[in-house]
Amino acid sequence: MKVMIGLEIHCQLSTKTKLFCSDSIENAEPNKNVCPVCLGFPGSKPKINKKALDYGIMVALALNCKINKSMFFSRKSYFYPDMAKNYQITQYEIPLAVDGFLETEDGKIRIRRIHLEEDPAKLLHVGGDITSAKYVLVDYNRAGVPLLEIVTEPDFTSPKQVREFLEKLSSILEHLGVYDSSREASLRVDANISLEGGERIEIKNISGFADVEKALNYEIVRQKGLLRMNVKIERETRHYDAERRITKSLRKKEYEEDYGYIFDPDLPEIEITEDWIKQIKANMPELPHDRVKRFVSMYGLNEYQAKVIVYTDKYLADFFEECCKSYKKPTEAAKWIITYLLKSLNWHGISIRQSKIKPKDFVEFLELIDKKVITERYAKELIKDYVDTGVSPRKIVESKLTKIDDSQLEKIIEDVIKENSKAVEEYRTGKTKALEFLIGVVLSKTNKQADPKKIREMLLKKI
């Protein structure tokens, strides 16, 4: 069954201040980073943040868009408790940019438009969820944080492709330095999904790539079920309940919502000159696409490795490069990062930046393997401990090595020899593998806290 998905992605830009006033966008106690402008007090007037314009232009260039020579802000009118003015300053007829695209493994996704707008406030639903609360509490710290809205054409054919796109997009935004993925709900998605034979359903306000994928998968299963039972799918807006992993109906959509747009008369026209664009182009940081190519040519990674590292997250790519400064086997580093480090991070649901992993420690870890201080098998265990505790692998190894003194170890080895006389006999008859077996037994008896080298030496003396 053919699936069509289109996205509206709202990304918080990492400027210092809000889009139309000078309040910080940092997290704070409720209603601390607010002023009369972002609270919509009578008489207050917005003034556009130049940095947000610069950032918007950068993204438009990175997503291959046509940038309008002149753009305007509009008022989108609708009443809602998270709206300071009951209209949102956004862009309507003449947005920042149009007609771009971004490639995915399964094809090109067209970008319809990119525009700047202000984030609404944050609502807490007291005494229930959005559908059952008694009242709401409003924190306007988020009100006015610059959002870049990226609207795609309905070109996605699977939730997996959506996730790939979002990860890639996020990496681009991070490489541009316009977005901070560690902020809470800094990237939120409205997804429109329709199955062949059904109407379009909008799932509003999902944060987190994994949740977007889950919500869409759920929606496909749900809609397929309905279609199979010949239930008509009507246009509606749904809400994703991340805890229960289901979507819930918010409201039926009988007709296109009417936002009564007007041009915001408090704000001037913004003219985007060739010079301005040139200036921004000249200062554009390296984009993920180019970085992948560079990782292949400079570090000898294969394309798959390069893509995983670069598109997972900019900071992972930075981490890799930092490691490669002092560690001269980049492919080996990439292997350990992709296969084991990333797995461990994912298991904890954190990014490299949220973890305590440091390039210097990681390089030492790789060197422990190279110098055969630790076995690969142990290294795989060690990396989990490392991600768990943040204690450097070298320190973990050292502390474990010193935990058992020689006399204790000698005692353990004597016991093992007694208990495994068969293996000892085998070794003596020339089966070297038996020695490895004995080392393993000793090691496990020490809870892997002894140095395998030392065990070998002492074992050899005894048998």
Binding site: T15, K16, T17, S22, D23, S24, E29, P30, N31, K32, V34, C35, P36, L39, K47, I48, N49, K50, K51, A52, L53, F72, S77, F79, Y80, P81, L123, L124, H125, I130, T131, S132, A133, K134, Y135, V136, L137, V138, D139, Y140, Y255, E256, D258, G260, F263, P265, P268, E269, I270, E271
Partner: protein, 99 residues
């Protein structure tokens, strides 16, 4: 979207739709009164159809205003944002529920 044949014509259904959008609750008498007045107003406003604006750009301001922006510099606003309302709780504004 509401279907319309003549955009200078307003009826009760449209007034209801507008009031819902504008969050105004009117009595039936008020609606009737406003409807009648709006009809009279629109009869006069209709005259703008006479003006040929096919090659005219809209004016968003009386004077063209361009590129007036501010730099991304933080300025802390010292005040009590909750000072003008009684609907507050733990530093939050309190408001009505959604559904």
């Amino acid at each position: 979207m509401i279907c319309m044949t003549d955009y200078w014509k307003i009826d009760e259904k449209l007034v209801n739709h507008i009031c819902a959008a504008a969050k105004l609750e009117l009595t039936e008498d008020e609606k009737k009164k406003y409807l009648k007045q709006l009809e009279e107003i629109l009869q006069v406003f209709k005259e703008i159809d006479e003006v040929d604006t096919s090659s005219v750009e809209p004016s968003f301001h009386p004077i063209k205003i361009k590129n007036n922006w501010r730099e991304d510099e933080e300025k802390k606003y010292e005040w009590d944002p909750l000072g003008n309302t009684r609907h507050k709780e733990d530093g939050y504004f309190k408001g009505p529920k959604i559904v």
